[in-house]
């Protein structure tokens, strides 16, 4: 694999993560820097994701780069049976960087092996989505002033939610305490608990989403509890509203608490939370722009210093 590509959050060391966050801060102060002048970037979305694509394309545009690509696999040659390898090699002839999203797990890793140009993974199936993780980290860093020694409470679908798994891996550099709040069917998989045990990271598991847990948190990371994840629909009906955050539940929470959610939300955050200054999910999405600008520059070896 080319060293420059970003496929999985574990490709970056603690120092590299911090470097991206510092650069994102500079982009937040001034997002319009024409450092990609004369460069062409491909956004290949084999699976549609308007939110992520618009964020990446805005990042490229604000950096002065040009974009080619597609937003839906049905318009591409992959529907004619062309292999991913052939598509990637063909496109890499034209561009300086490929940003790709794919419906298959591991597609970005494979692309990074066959491509002579660097790859940024914008989501591969249910596997990795490192720019989401870095924007989550930037949101935490910005609101808490540090990533060190924080109480990170994750709520909802902790079994299938790839964002919480990647966030857990990334935060493991920074001495966190984790609280995992999930129904039995969607609890944090053992491999991540073993990972925490190995690194000596304390964590607690909870079935009930109580104010006592909320009151101790610095970051409340909410996720969707989706009906299709349940084998037993009775179980879903029982828990679907148990993991909903309502404004009244925040009465005793810490002043620095911020509520994050990868969006889109369904009913896991009540609308009355939106006006609470601790609700941070909309700014979180905006932070995605600066973080993606920083990632693009890092992958292309462009240093931003002021």
């Amino acid at each position: 694999m080319r060293k420059e590509s970003l496929v999985s959050i574990t490709d970056y060391s603690k120092d590299e993560i911090l470097e991206v966050l510092e650069t994102a801060k500079l982009f937040e102060a001034n997002p319009n820097r024409r450092v990609l002048e004369g460069k062409v970037i491909a956004t290949l979305f084999f699976e549609p994701s308007t939110r992520t694509r618009l964020s990446f394309e805005t990042a490229v545009n604000r950096l002065g780069g040009r974009i080619i690509g597609f937003s839906d696999a049905s318009t591409t040659s992959s529907t004619k049976g062309e292999t991913l390898k052939d598509t990637i090699i063909m496109v890499s002839n034209y561009v300086d960087l490929i940003i790709m999203r794919h419906y298959l797990d591991g597609a970005a890793r494979y692309a990074s092996e066959v491509s002579p140009k660097p790859i940024i993974n914008a989501g591969d199936g249910s596997n990795q989505h490192p720019s989401q993780t870095l924007l989550d980290l930037y949101s935490i860093y910005k609101t808490q002033g540090t990533l060190e020694n924080l109480n990170i409470t994750m709520v909802g679908d902790l079994k299938y939610g790839r964002t919480v798994h990647s966030l857990l891996m990334a935060m493991s550099h920074f001495h966190p305490t984790f609280h995992f709040v999930a129904p039995e069917e969607l609890k944090m998989p053992d491999e991540y608990k073993v990972y925490c045990d190995k690194l000596g990271i304390p964590y607690e598991e909870h079935r009930d989403f109580t104010e006592d847990i909320i009151d101790r948190a610095d970051i409340l990371y909410m996720t969707r509890v989706q009906r299709e994840r349940f084998t037993d629909l009775m179980e879903y009906e029982k828990v679907k509203n148990v993991y909903t955050l309502r404004n009244a539940m925040l009465a005793g929470s810490k002043p620095n608490l911020r509520i994050l959610h990868p969006l889109p939300r369904v009913n896991e955050i009540a609308y009355d939370v939106d006006d609470n200054p601790k609700a941070y999910y909309f700014e979180q999405a905006k932070n995605g722009l600066y973080t993606r600008q920083a990632i693009i520059c890092k992958v292309l070896g462009i240093k931003i210093t002021d």
């Binding site: 999985s8 292999t83 991913l84 390898k85 794919h102 419906y103 298959l104 797990d105 591991g106 597609a107 890793r109 494979y110 591969d124 199936g125 249910s126 596997n127 990795q128 491999e191």
Partner: protein, 153 residues
Amino acid sequence: MELSDKELKVAALENGTVIDRIPSDQLFKVVSLLHLDTMDKSITIGNNLYSHKIGKKGIIKIADTFFKEEDIDKIAILAPKAKINIIKDYQVVHKQEVSLPDQLHDIIRCANPKCITNNEPMATKFDVIDKENVTVKCCYCEQAISKEQIKIK
């Protein structure tokens, strides 16, 4: 029951390799893993023999063939307790246990149907994360696969 030097002689293998202590239900998978089915050397296969170590076992004797270590280590996926005896001039000149390599290149299939390796004509690659229990992790989709889920490519 361990094979003694005497019994190996009874089998009259002058030169070659004996693979012992293969679980019976894995024997023919080992045959195909090592591509013995397309080999023209003389091969003796015994199966459902009694072993106090692993219950029913199989044994394979291949004349005039010596495997590269990396090839022989592959069979640890199927038979982690297998024992290799190298025979020269009717004597066991070398005994070794198999041990899983750190990485498996294009030997097994990923158990995740949504993995890119199951949807593109490409080689598979796995990191061995637990040699004791034979757990591997796909280098592409990053999913861990347990021994029971492993399928030879």
